[in-house]
């Protein structure tokens, strides 16, 4: 999902940069005023922790491997404001030291992976937690929330690429959302397993009131919600309504027609079936997304049930407290 430099044009880079500065600024202000000083080192260490957790590879079929993104994990463990700071720090260090992901694209990457993903993950987790209690409810909520956060962040990423004119929405949306509906399964599984492991050894770290920067501030919550809504209106909504799509077609027929004639030697190999595929691929992706969400919801409940049962049988006989 990470966007390198050169893939975004100036307007997208500046707009997403402003979003990120606003979101990160609100989180930092909240943290600066309301976090006890003794929690500040924890935020720094948590950032290092997410960085290292992203480096650990999980084997997937046929020799490939995936890794954790960690946005929802950070949000559930630390609360939304701290998660925004933690994920942004990870992305900043990766951009400046690893040259991984771009410098100008940093705004877009922070917006997708450090603001949208943890906030959506945390919001969905909180909503589900009010309905489903207990260990199973917690794990199921964590799984579903991290799947949704991954997919939503990838849709924002597709919106940014489409707005920059790098790729058509009709290609970027099915490709990004489709790939992340699959990788989201891995993200959800790992996040559930990690939370289950922590709740087995140190359940007090998961107490909902013990998050490093809890989101009680109404003004901060308002900034977060506003950012996501504005982002949706600017990046995603224009592509799904019919009018700008028509404009895009006009622009392409006016602006690119002569260039297409200039370069007949290198015809795009997919040209023949791109036009009829656009609308239906987008619709198919939305349908797949809805079906996928229902399936993941059910799956995360089943998996949470297995994990919670194992948790129960594991805690009593062999927990360190009982042994001593």
């Amino acid at each position: 999902m990470h966007i390198p430099d050169g893939f975004l044009d100036a307007k997208t880079a500046i707009a997403t940069g402003l979003f990120s500065i606003t979101g990160l600024g609100a989180a930092l202000r909240r943290a600066g005023r309301h976090v006890q000083p003794r929690k500040i080192p924890l935020i720094g260490l948590a950032a290092a922790f997410i960085f290292v957790a992203q480096m650990l590879n999980f084997p997937v079929a046929s020799g490939t491997s995936g890794h954790l993104l960690g946005a929802t994990l950070a949000a559930v463990l630390l609360g939304p404001s701290a998660a925004i700071i933690v994920m942004s720090s990870v992305l900043i260090v990766q951009a400046l030291i690893f040259a991984d992901r771009g410098i100008l694209a940093l705004g877009a990457n922070i917006f997708n992976m450090a603001i949208v993903a943890p906030l959506c993950g945390f919001g969905i987790y909180k909503i589900l937690r009010t309905f489903f209690r207990g260990e199973q409810g917690r794990l199921a909520a964590v799984g579903f929330a991290s799947w949704c956060a991954t997919v939503i962040a990838s849709v924002f990423c597709a919106g940014e690429l489409a707005w920059s004119g790098t790729a058509l929405w009709g290609t970027a949306f099915p490709a990004m959302a489709g790939v992340h509906m699959l990788t989201g399964l891995g993200e959800a599984t790992i996040t559930m397993l990690v939370i289950a492991a922590i709740s087995k050894t140190r359940p007090e770290l998961l107490e909902d009131n013990d998050q490093a920067v809890s989101i009680n501030g109404r003004s901060t919550a308002f900034v977060y919600v506003a950012l996501i809504v504005i982002g949706l209106l600017l990046l995603v909504a224009p592509h799904t309504s019919p009018l700008p799509d028509g404009l895009e077609k006009v622009a392409s027929s006016l602006g690119f027609e002569h260039k297409a004639i200039e370069e007949p030697i290198l015809p795009s190999p997919i040209k023949d079936y791109q036009v009829p595929g656009i609308q239906s691929a987008g619709t198919a992706t939305i349908v797949a997304g809805v079906i996928g969400a229902i399936a993941v919801f059910a799956l995360s409940f089943l998996f949470a049930r297995v994990l919670a049962r194992r948790h129960k049988s594991a805690v009593h006989p062999s927990s360190p407290a009982n042994r001593q």
């Binding site: 080192p41 260490l45 290092a48 260090v93 492991a197």
Partner: protein, 203 residues
């Protein structure tokens, strides 16, 4: 343990390494913004930038092998997204344009990160007015990154010396509990760090 895969050559001694950090940061930003905004039909500009970067890279005395190795490691990610550009009218042109641009930008950042220690970058970011809290968190993060990588390696070694089956589910499960354990240890370490910082007069 040495983790010099991070910014291995940032402490060499060359004319570029000796330049003030602010100058390097600003010129990196200028090169990248120019590369991103100039239209791809202006081919001479991109040849100029590529030539300039190659000369700079020669001046830094960083081994070529390392620079191109890093580029090769990072290129697949760019390629993966760039492929989506092909699915449109004039796609090959857009594809080549963004691939060239992103390669040049990557090259620039690789040079920056391997000629400037991270602490220096943080100092000049502070001078530019980045919030103090963020600088503190970034500095803490960078300092303990190496410690946590060591910790993760120790946990992983302990795991692999005790696990004999290689069933994928078991692997995922143990890796996840490794991550969980790493978080628990990070929180404990954070407590100790806070105590040490307070004892030395922080805040």
């Amino acid at each position: 343990m040495r983790h010099d895969f991070l910014d291995r050559y940032s402490r060499l001694n060359s004319p570029i390494h000796r330049l003030p950090t602010t100058v390097k940061l600003l010129s990196t930003l200028c090169i990248i913004s120019a590369t991103v905004t100039v239209h791809f039909t202006q081919v001479w500009f991109f040849i100029l930038v590529a030539g300039g970067l190659l000369i700079l890279s020669a001046l830094t005395t960083i081994p070529w092998r390392f620079v191109f190795g890093r580029l090769m490691v990072l290129e697949p990610f760019a390629l993966g997204i760039a492929v989506m550009a092909l699915f449109q009218e004039n796609g090959v042109f857009v594809f080549l344009s963004i691939l060239t641009k992103s390669t040049l930008c990557l090259f620039t950042v690789i040079l920056l990160s391997n000629t400037t220690p991270f602490a220096e970058i943080l100092l000049s970011l502070k001078r530019f007015g980045v919030p103090k809290l963020l600088i503190t968190i970034l500095a803490l993060m960078y300092r303990y990154l190496f410690v946590l990588i060591d910790e993760a390696e120790r946990l992983n070694r302990a795991r692999s010396s005790r696990t004999f089956s290689s069933s994928p589910f078991r692997k995922w499960n143990t890796m996840a509990s490794l991550i969980g354990q790493l978080f628990v240890r990070s929180t404990e370490r954070a407590e100790r760090i806070y105590a040490a910082m307070s004892a030395r007069g922080w805040r």
